[in-house]
Amino acid sequence: MMNIEFSFIIIDDSELDCYVTQKFLERTNDSLVIETFQNAEHALQKICETHAENDKAPTIILLDLQMPMMDGYRFVEEFEKLPPEIQKKYMIIILTVLSSTSDPNDIYRILAYPTVNSIIEKPLTKEKLITLLEQVRSEI
């Protein structure tokens, strides 16, 4: 299973964060398919319109939580209303800033969604990303 490569969707309202995450990913493998969205609604729309082939590895969604308009929570809620055959082609990983003022309940709340796989704390580093990719590979 080692040679499975994933596609990625990055959803983050910050242009810099999108760029940094994308570049980190490209550094692990330069043939990855990566799409970035600064607006979660646009990402959701794209997901609805895409008909991925069944035998492909799931697409990993790296999702920021605090965004204007549609935030990460609402994105996940809307995503879970999609038909199951679409849902199972994706895996959501939260990529967000955690601070001492964040309510721990918010974290539990987002992890309680069945489609949310795990959380990575910003800022992103190469090590965090490699650990994540290993973990995801082992789960498939």
Binding site: S14, Y19, V20, V97, T101, L124, K126
Partner: protein, 361 residues
């Protein structure tokens, strides 16, 4: 004193009620009740009753029982017992339980009652003042909570983005790629700086007092023209400004500038990038002591359903990264301070016009 203090007296003997009312009705507004149910009815329909006198010995319920009951249902009025020495045990008990403020012994003199009323009224005022202050504190505390949360997110968000970029930069060898990253980092730093500046505006608006001077709108607009000259050129947005002021206008220049420059900055910020004939227009007219300012743009517009929300703190109508959620809230606070009004007229993908009216002071 503007209004008479409202007092309820409960006693099962009608002649006591009459005597009490006759002695005190000139200085106070007296309500009377012959029974506990009547007293509760009276309290329900007159919530501004401040002091209740009650006789201890009544058929059915004693005064102590009555006070114990209404302490929960009507906690605001101050409770005073009227009684003879024979009931002293139950009175002491009731005072110790906190059900009674004080007691006046029977037979009472007018001076006893007036003194009791004075003391009770002081107590009532202190309590209600405390309740008002408590309310204000709670509001300030809620705002602070919201503020702390948003500040920590809005400052830590860009900071963690910059940290992530530094982590990435360590791996980059290509100079052009590095430059691209630096440009994005610069944008984030500038955004953070703007955020801190508007936070400062927010605080000075909440605290400061007005400093009234003569306002020359031509001067304000000329300054802004200089500030926006570069922006107008590089982004290809035509900037027109027109001022018609023939009379003296007095106001505080700091909040006034804040209003105009925030609206103007938005007008430039939210332009439709794909449009060819981009423009921003400012029109100021001072007439009969009122300044009317129109700021129009050919920008992306504001969703109709958002137009009522845009002045709220930390509301962002747009997914563009540039907004902090402070700008229009500060505009609104500044207008509140200057006794001004704002109207918004916006069509999605066509443009937005803000109309501001501010009276001269």
């Amino acid at each position: 004193m503007s209004e008479k203090i409202k007092i309820l007296y409960v006693d099962d003997e009608p002649e006591n009620l009459v005597g009490f009312k006759a002695a005190l009705r000139l200085d106070y507004q007296i309500f009377t009740a012959l029974s506990v149910p009547d007293a509760i009815k009276c309290l329900n329909s007159n919530p501004e009753i401040r002091i209740i006198f009650c006789d201890q010995r009544m058929p059915g319920k004693t005064g102590v029982d009555f006070f114990e009951e209404i302490r929960i249902t009507h906690p605001l009025p101050v409770r005073i017992m009227l009684t003879a020495y024979t009931d002293i045990e139950s009175i002491i008990d009731a005072i110790n339980k906190g059900n009674i403020f004080r007691y006046v012994k029977k037979p009472w003199t007018e001076a006893d009652i007036i003194w009791a009323i004075d003391e009770a009224n002081k107590f009532y005022m202190a309590n209600s003042m405390l309740a008002v202050k408590n309310d204000e504190l709670q509001k300030a505390y809620n705002e602070l909570n919201k503020f702390a949360y948003s500040v920590s997110h809005d400052i830590r968000g860009p900071l963690s983005g910059i940290l992530g970029a530094i982590n990435l930069a360590r791996l980059i060898e290509d100079v052009d790629e590095m430059k691209e990253l630096l440009l994005l980092m610069e944008k984030s730093v500038l955004k953070l700086d703007t955020y801190v500046l508007s936070m400062h505006d927010y605080y000075s608006l909440q605290r400061g007092e007005l400093k009234i001077t003569e306002i020359d709108f031509n001067k304000i607009i000329d300054e802004l023209k200089t500030i926006y000259a570069t922006n107008s050129k590089t982004n290809n947005v035509s900037f027109k400004a027109h001022v018609k002021q023939e009379e003296v206008f007095l106001n505080d220049i700091a909040p006034l500038k804040l209003i105009i420059s925030n609206l103007l900055s938005n007008a430039f910020k939210y332009q439709d990038k794909n449009r060819k004939d981009k423009s921003v227009e400012v029109n100021v007219e001072v007439k009969r002591g009122v300044a009317t300012i129109y700021i129009s743009d050919t920008g992306i517009g504001i969703l109709e359903s958002h137009q009522g929300e845009i002045f709220k703190l930390f509301f962002r109508s747009n997914s563009l990264e540039v907004g902090s959620g402070f700008g229009l809230y500060n505009v609104k606070s500044a207008l509140l301070k200057l006794n001004g009004q704002i109207e918004v007229n916006s069509v999605l993908n066509k443009g937005t016009t803000f109309k501001v009216t501010i009276p001269s002071i």
